[in-house]
Assembly symmetry: C2
Homo-oligomer: 425 residues x 2
């Protein structure tokens, strides 16, 4: 079974929004075991949309479309899909009722253009939209003698994603008889080329499960993917391959394993929280250049409150002095971006919040503020716990912008906490 | 001149990474005045890639490709492009020298697979990669008697984006004779349908400049886009149309104007910083459920340190009590998620940090922790300044997940600061 994704929206062609729907659906259909060879974006243009629908349906079994369903979109996606399947459209009273109810609930007036959302292709399966106004749809039928399916979803990710999970995923799962399972091994302290060099024999030898390295911003990720009749079998195959990877020279760099995108994205913070729990340790921050990003990253994880107590954002030197207790003399003599200041900050955060371990960051995220001695990208770190305080300096300079320097700083700070708890520093 | 974007990478088809390159390039080519009607993603498969290159080149003047250039990608993008233009490949010594220098600089061993990056199509223009290893390329030539161009860029955004700006943008600008200029009007407190209802006459009447509404997460954005021979002329056209929009019933909801994606993404925080500067006021936070996201959002903006002093992340009640001075009795009687607590938090942050104005948030971001009285999505806010303290409660419940509730909370907190400074609350 081959799936294809077609996203409709001039705002995508103009780059006004990033196509997160495409990535979300791609990941989900891969997990269901569907093949996927093309993704396309077209604008709100009926002629090009019709062409794109026809091309996609000629090379896939299931076409998944997003966008072009809202009240301001002239329904071009529904019309194009109905045409491709040779069916007409009708007004659906129950969708109208849903719309009336939705607008009553959010206490907004329903404007007339919303009613167009109740027009649906004949014989379509309607996915009711509990997250917004435009309903989703599935169309099924033979085109040139071959069974084809099209699924239409609203464009806003806040509607597209839950509707996919709740309505489309069960619909697709019933069509597939194979499962793909992927496991990510997260490595820190080794580059992509070096990891690939070590793993090349495994990568070349093994087709199922496959082994592929990905360079991510602050880590290297090795993805092991198995295809099997059952999830259990696929899991066993990835487990066996992962065990072989642990035995290579790359194994020592693995700090976390994940098997879904949320965990993968949050591998460092999740590993840190797990390590804190393992040691029964509470955690606090003292952030200057990251200005709350470390705390916010921990706050992304539901239930982190058992280990995370909070922290101090000390953007101004006055806050470093008055709240964290950094000596004025330190700030005068070596400046805020110094290991001495970072050490005081971490100790101050630990003392102020009562946490078991505290991490601090103070650096120059740029684009301004750099000097020859402390160029943009210079960040000092401190980790304070009952054993004392550890400080270090990193240079994230050269090719990194402000946002990236702050993200790299956040990840590095959390890796320091992991390493401190593991007794490595 | 029609541009088309083709992104190469199995990791895109699998949804492992989000196609930010596509959005970035789309935005830049729109700004240069190029038309853009299709974006495509294909995997690392030579047959489908060759087909995709041929299809794209048949309908565009300039094909921009990303990905498939790195040391682990077997160079399929370069080979497919060279084939499409009917040229061979050769080894480029100067690229080899760049690679050797790059690896020496980052003190990593250059593995042999990196050398494939020095193979380039004959007659190609090489864009040296100062941000990574794989060079970019431009190919020019007639295909079926029509002049066509292909531009090849590395996939990692940290290389693709600067190489586009530094090498590709000047190359493309020399090909175009029209400019597009867009201005975003940011509205808060009105829905997309209602805004569209008000602006429909302008939207229908005006083709150049065009007027289009976009629903964003916490605001409605009206985009005014003009096409003209000069940037100055396009700017004047959008200014005149913007002035007309201000005079409609939608005008009262406009809180900011922006003209580039960075500012648009940061419209609320930028408007807040501008308002703080206007009032000569310093700012601090007290964050519970956002856990540093408000501070981090302010820290995204270079130079915010003239108004932003810092804040307290009070995830645990102990930090609310001991650092912010929330009375134990308050936490016992009405709980941490209460306007009373929010008020104490804001006052505590203002007192502790010495800021002129402080905002606080305390709420239930979910998925757990909700009760019938305080369901997930309930957030209490406080704003403290010399005039006293203002508190309010919002319910971001219903269709929002943890991440979205925290983002909406962050935006709402900053809107409260803006409104407080403007004397509206």
């Amino acid at each position: 079974m081959i799936c294809e994704i077609l996203c409709v929206g001039t705002e995508l062609l103009l780059g006004d929004i990033i196509n997160t729907d495409g990535a979300f659906i791609a990941r989900e259909i891969a997990a269901l075991g569907f093949g996927s060879y093309h993704q396309t974006v077209v604008g709100d243009n009926p002629v090009r949309l019709r062409e794109a629908v026809s091309t996609a349906l000629s090379r896939c079994d299931v076409l998944i479309m997003t966008g072009g369903l809202g009240p301001t979109c002239d329904d071009i996606t529904k019309i194009a899909a109905a045409e491709a399947f040779g069916v007409g459209m009708h007004f659906d009273e129950s969708i109208r009722d849903d719309l009336v109810e939705f607008f009553a609930k959010i206490s907004r007036r329903m404007t007339d253009n919303n009613l167009s959302q109740a027009m649906v292709p004949d014989n379509g399966i309607v996915f009711r939209n509990k997250w917004g106004t435009a309903p989703g749809l599935a169309l099924e039928g033979e085109i040139d003698g071959i069974m084809k399916r099209a699924i239409l979803l609203p464009g806003p990710p806040s509607e597209c994603e839950p509707m996919f999970m709740e309505c489309v995923k069960p619909y697709l799962a019933a069509l597939s008889d194979e499962t793909i399972y992927s496991r990510n091994l997260h490595l820190y302290g080794i580059g992509e080329s070096a990891a690939e060099d070590i793993l090349r024999p495994l990568m070349e030898e093994s087709v199922n499960p496959s082994v592929a390295p990905y360079a991510c911003e602050h880590e290297v990720r090795i993805r092991v993917t198995a295809r099997a009749k059952s999830l259990e079998e696929a899991r066993t195959m990835t487990r066996e391959m992962s065990d072989r990877i642990y035995k290579t020279d790359a194994g020592q760099y693995i700090f976390a394993e994940t098997d879904n995108p949320f965990d993968a994205k949050n591998a460092v913070v999740t590993a840190m929280i797990a390590e804190l729990r393992k040691h029964g340790m509470t955690f606090a921050t003292a952030e200057s250049c990251t200005a709350g990003m470390i705390g916010s990253t921990v706050g992304d994880i539901p239930g982190a409150s058992d280990v995370f107590v909070g922290g101090i954002i000390s953007y101004a030197n006055e806050v470093k002095e008055n709240v964290l207790g950094v000596p004025h003399e330190t700030l005068e003599r070596v400046g805020a971006v110094s290991e001495e200041c970072a050490g005081y900050m971490a100790q101050g955060s630990r003392r102020t919040t009562g946490a078991g371990i505290a991490v601090s960051v103070t650096g120059i995220a740029g684009p301004g503020g750099g000097t020859p001695e402390k160029p943009v990208g210079t960040v000092c770190f401190g980790v304070a716990d009952e054993k004392g305080v550890y400080t270090t300096t990193r240079h994230f300079n050269g090719r990194n912008d402000r946002a990236k320097i702050r993200r790299l700083t956040t990840a590095y700070a959390m890796m320091l906490v992991i390493r401190r708890l593991r007794g490595e520093i």
